[in-house]
Symmetry: C2
Subunit: 770 residues, 2 copies
């Protein structure tokens, strides 16, 4: 039996087989907030948490985030705004609300995310205090056909009674960010108008408080019997402060099912000059097309997305399922056409970290898009280019040259990571991250380079990428400090990925990446000077750079202090002198525990790491370290890392594989893949760990699939499948050619969709061509 058989035939007919479903089987109010994230939907235009549409649920954080809609107001940083909640459709029988938590008992309950088709479905039967039994089912999706639209359809069946039902189709603009966190709760929108739309809907016009960006949220309902007859007679518009409401009713007979369809259309000043007019227009057209029509277009689009993005792991059903969940949430989130938005650290599923882009984008998320949806990857790297002026300002502001990218980036490119934060206990905390954590700037350059190497998008490179790589290199040059006594360049007072040691001098990760960045700039400058000198000279002119400025860069980069390049590498100067002890205990979730010997000692004075800098460094700059060095360092640092960042496990999976720690690697893969699906860190309620979704995909394709690009720029595979996997299968777009790849224990089978162009690739050192 499939889970869909628990639904009515009507709803079951839409649902995929179980392997494509994420299932909430039975309702637990304590888990509702986590499921709001897990079942969050995103359309590339907006993201919507899965708060129960009928309302009346005690613990719920309804949220609708829209790409590029940020505001600061009283918050200590510019945040992705919670915008009006358009999802609510309240149901009543004689004033008594019908909903998950409203009755005397909830007799049946199942909710599923159909990842294949990109929609939510639920089914429940509730018994009211007076014994009335009601069956409710729902389908909800954010249309990928018209991604500013959200639609839902409720099937309502009174099982043992009948009469007049009342409904409220609601837009609630009273929402805030951090609704359940009083200290941090901020209302980012002002409500300007709460109005009916002609005779068929309701709208709210809001604006952000800082920039006055207008946002129109519009909605309308339709009611049908199961024969498809419109049974909606009249609607009454009501204004309740910041809430717009359409009141409607319908007579329903015992055992009869009716469908209440809700349509919502959203527009902001980012995409429209007349937001209410345009949103209403879209709404009217959606109503005319109808739910089924919109749903079909939506499903066709998800089919297309999955054709590109699916990753089959034959022989490991649980992991297969989790992989699809990670891919589903990751691929659904970014805009397909907006190069002024990025992807926040919690995707569009929660507001922690303000919806800001971190280095997570370039190092964890971008690979997936680079390999699978290069159009999106192009938007993500272009986002950095669009904000390069702010990065230049940011460098200047801090006394440096070139472009220094902000640790946290929102819509303006300003540094959003505040110098002072408020802690949950109300104390003010001087936050040094923006001051010291400079490696993000190298990550941006790294992302651009990887994007280019994989896509061979020459236009992007010469128009935008080159400038980023040169300007970031320029930053590093200005950031270096020459030590005359030691005759080398140092980078002092920085923080590496491991934020528990802050600040430090000569962080191995930062120094290596800075060197890489400078060398990469020189490489591209040289190439363009030779091959396309007009591009080269135009760039120099634009960024006011003379050849003499960079002629010493190579020599300087040679003298950047790297404490070691083989053997054990010290994470930073003085790390080996800290109080050392290795991890010897793990908790019930297999999470490492602080060694007893280090308890009571200030974290920064111990060797224990939040996440491993050196391991990350070797993962990124694989070719610069020999196998033995990688092994020595992995083994050393793995014993000292608590993985208190969701960025850590996937890197340890991939590095574990490289150094032959298969069981380690698989444990880390699971940790990464399941973090939100099973709420393993207990914080899924705050959103989906974006870096984990991308890191998980990388772990399978780059890690187990052993896919990489070698020094010569050749696509190479060194697969290391676990014994219990039969094969993995996925698609990428390599140098603009779609490739379908199946990796078994014996073979790597690659099929190109187009054969206009020869593809060369290597498998375990042997070269092949197709």
């Amino acid at each position: 039996m499939f889970k869909r058989d628990l639904f009515s035939e009507e709803v079951a007919s839409y649902l995929s087989e179980d392997e494509w479903l994420v299932i909430e089987d039975g309702y637990d109010a304590q888990k509702n907030l986590a499921y709001e994230s897990i079942f969050g939907l995103a359309s590339g235009y907006m993201g919507n948490r899965a708060s129960h549409e009928e309302g009346d649920v005690r613990s719920s954080l309804p949220a609708n985030y829209i790409h590029g809609v940020f505001d600061k107001s009283e918050a200590f940083q510019r945040e992705l705004c919670n915008t009006p909640d358009w999802t609510k459709l309240k149901m009543y029988y004689k004033r008594d609300p019908i909903g998950i938590e409203s009755g005397q008992s909830l007799d049946e309950y199942i909710r599923v995310l159909d990842m294949k088709k990109g929609f939510l479905a639920k089914h429940y039967v509730t018994t009211a205090h007076d014994g009335r039994k009601t069956k409710v089912e729902l389908i909800k999706f954010l249309s990928r056909g018209h991604n500013n639209l959200g639609l839902l359809r409720i099937y309502l069946t009174p099982i043992n009674y009948q009469g007049l039902f009342e409904f409220e189709n609601i837009i609630d603009a009273s929402v805030t960010n951090f609704m359940d966190f009083p200290r941090f709760r901020v209302k980012h929108l002002e409500t300007l108008e709460v109005e009916p739309i002609d005779e068929f809907g309701a709208s709210i016009l809001s604006q952000t408080r800082d920039f006055k960006l207008p946002i129109a949220t519009t909605t309308a309902v339709a009611v049908y019997d199961m024969a498809g007859n419109n049974i909606l007679k009249s609607r009454k518009f009501r204004r309740y402060g910041e809430v717009a409401c359409e009141f409607i009713d319908a007579q329903v007979k015992e055992k009869q099912t009716i469908m209440i369809e809700k349509y919502a259309s959203i527009r902001t000043g980012r995409d429209s000059d007349a937001v209410v007019y345009d949103a209403s227009h879209d709404l009217r057209q959606a109503l005319e097309r109808g739910f089924d029509n919109e749903f079909e277009v939506h499903q066709a689009e998800y089919k297309r997305l999955w054709t590109r993005a699916d990753l089959v792991i034959k022989g490991d059903d649980k992991l297969q399922h989790a992989l699809r969940f990670n891919i589903f949430q990751l691929m659904s989130t970014p805009s397909m056409d907006d190069d002024r938005t990025n992807i926040g650290a919690k995707l569009m599923h929660g507001e922690e970290y303000g919806g800001h882009a971190f280095w997570d984008t370039e190092l964890f998320i971008l690979p997936f898009f680079t390999y699978v949806f290069p159009g999106v990857a192009k938007n993500l790297v272009t986002y950095r280019y669009n904000l390069i002026d702010k990065a230049r300002e940011n460098a200047k502001l801090n006394g440096y040259a070139g472009a220094k990218y902000p640790w946290e980036s929102a819509d303006t490119g300003d540094e959003e990571c505040p110098a002072w934060t408020v802690e949950p206990d109300g104390s003010c905390y001087r936050c040094y991250v923006a001051d010291y954590e400079h490696h993000v700037t190298a990550a941006v350059a790294f992302g651009v380079d990887r994007y280019y190497r994989f896509t061979k998008d020459e236009a992007f490179l010469k128009e935008k990428g080159l400038e980023i790589i040169v300007e970031t290199a320029r930053f590093w040059i200005s950031r270096l400090e020459y030590s005359a006594t030691k005759d080398h360049y140092e980078i002092n007072q920085v923080t590496g990925p491991d934020e528990w040691h802050e600040p430090v001098d000569n962080n191995a990760y930062t120094n290596h990446l800075a060197k890489w960045n400078i060398r990469k700039a020189l490489e591209y400058l040289t190439r363009y000077k030779q091959d396309e000198s007009q591009v080269y000279y135009a760039l120099l002119k634009k960024i006011q750079m003379t050849e003499s400025e960079y002629e010493q860069w190579y020599a300087i980069s040679e003298k950047i202090y790297l404490n070691n390049t083989s053997g054990l590498i010290e994470q930073f100067e003085g790390y080996f002198d800290l109080k050392h002890a290795i991890i010897h205990e793990w908790d019930a979730n297999n999470m490492p525990l602080l060694p007893d010997a280090l308890k009571g000692i200030k974290r920064s004075q111990t060797c224990i790491l939040k996440q491993a800098d050196v391991v990350m460094l070797m993962f990124l700059l694989e070719n610069e370290f020999d196998k033995e060095t990688q092994k020595v360092n992995y083994e050393y640092y793995e014993q000292r890392t608590l993985h208190r960042s969701s960025l850590s496990p996937s890197i340890h999976c991939m590095m574990g594989l490289r150094v032959g720690k298969e069981q380690h690697a698989y444990d880390y893969l699971e940790r990464s893949a399941y973090v939100d699906l099973y709420d393993n860190q207990g914080n899924t309620r705050e959103g989906i760990h974006a870096a984990s979704t991308g890191g998980t995909w990388q772990s399978v394709t780059l890690g187990y699939g052993g896919m990489s690009v070698d020094r010569e720029g050749i696509l190479t595979f060194n697969p290391r499948l676990p014994k219990h996997w039969d094969y993995i299968e996925f698609s990428i777009i390599w140098e603009q050619v779609p490739l379908h790849i199946r990796i078994t224990h014996e073979d790597v089978i690659i099929k190109a969709e187009s054969i206009d162009k020869k593809i060369t690739y290597k498998v375990n050192e042997k070269t092949y061509k197709i």
Copy 2:
């Protein structure tokens, strides 16, 4: 053990003995709405439902009604507005709300209304999902010292943990009327300003939507340890749309108790020109006086009120308790100094009937105030005088002369009972009550006459009362229709108190009262012409009446058709021809059931009554009907009355006593006394039945005490105490002399507080003097 011993010593020290408490022992979410009414507080300025102050309760209708603040907007009548909720004080430990329904379990719970001192207290212990146990206690009162102030103090004790607690002091202006009744939900206020008050509080300025009446709601908090040290360090003001919030926090140690005091001050354009300024001023002064000081003044005032209003029933503890509850809610409600407001049919405890004054005021409520608080009674009758111009307009509008009082009266005196109402099923219903139910006009005159006869307030009579009685008589004269064939005057197309027969011709109740009203006008006109002719002529001039206009009134009144004055009186013409059957079954609550023989027949075509007109008539005009007639009619109609109005039982109690049906009478007394205290009709959630509170008081004093004023205006007593009562004891103010009355089975003992004036009274036909 007293119930107060379940509280901490601190709170227990404030609480009265059990007989003065209404107790909610253990929490049942299903009963919460009823307790919000039962525990509602009123200050004479405003009324406040007892919604739990910590919020986070699923089923709750927070409400704060202010005398005279009405608005119509989309409602079908002008309603007493729900104004901003100033009561909320939310508490959190690490984001986790602390409240009645918030935890894993509620281990202890008791809430009491201390009727003696006029405050609410609660105590509970809740265990959170993580095992934290918290004790919370609360005291809340609406100050009678400064009746625009509401205060509450929470005692918070973490039992097995400690740390930082966070609090939100909230004013919520997003409230509506009929919050849980989507079809009727209306928002009557617009929010104009949500602002901090200097550095110490928060305010919201609202206004009614129709008349733009400004309302300022202000609040501030103070936090103390139990040694009285101020431990409030800082407060942050936050604006969330229509919600004002002061965010504060405090460190609390394990087992330590802290006190969080909330002060609120409200002002409207009815009592201030600068509402926010004045409310803030009052708030600041209250803060300076402090909680204990304000509480002491408040308690002293309740002591004074009870000295006047207590009614002791020795030998019947349950009824004693209920009587005090009825008196407490009734006496707390009206303004002591505002003669432009009245008392709504649900007191200030719910919004059903729009907070409108009905004939309930004059016939059910006014006697209590006339006898106990004549100052309030004077305001209530003056309210009618203040609106007499509108009553004259209303008469003219309907084609009549004189003054026709509206069936439902709010602030303007317009008829608020709409011609069309919307039913819960959404259908529109033509409501004929305002068209036909004319007897309210006689009730207004009756109230004025009773007020005068009891108080001998000559000034009121000549300045206001006389005009009301004459103008209402003038209405009746114009309302009469002469039948030449029968040579009598008829009143056709009316509805009596029994609304199930609508309209009817020559309703006995209406015809008798019309006649009484005309005769009373003639009596006063004659008297003033003789005794104070300048008053008489001034009146005639003012109301443009000539002596010739009324010279035929007596003759006309003689010819008003009264179908019978002894023997069985037909309720209206044709009543005896209806389908008849007598009640022979009662439900589990002892409520009569429709006889089987009448089922399926249109109500108006059967003899079955909602409430008995003829019984009511005999109760009011006792002296016009002999004992036998009263008995015959009581017995006849009692068998045909379903008592579907809360006005019915008390009248049947008193009439039952008169005709010797003691057991009947006692059953009816209980029905009246317990209706809300035990939510016997299941609708206490909508408010307190105002008529029952007054009717219950009348049942004991006028019914069992047999107190009345005879034809000669002498205070008389014909006591009929039930055997199990030892005595009753109460106070009245008779002709401005406070009298203390104890009625035993043997005696009526009267003590006068002042002996400047001789008092004559009769007991069982014998005359006494003091």
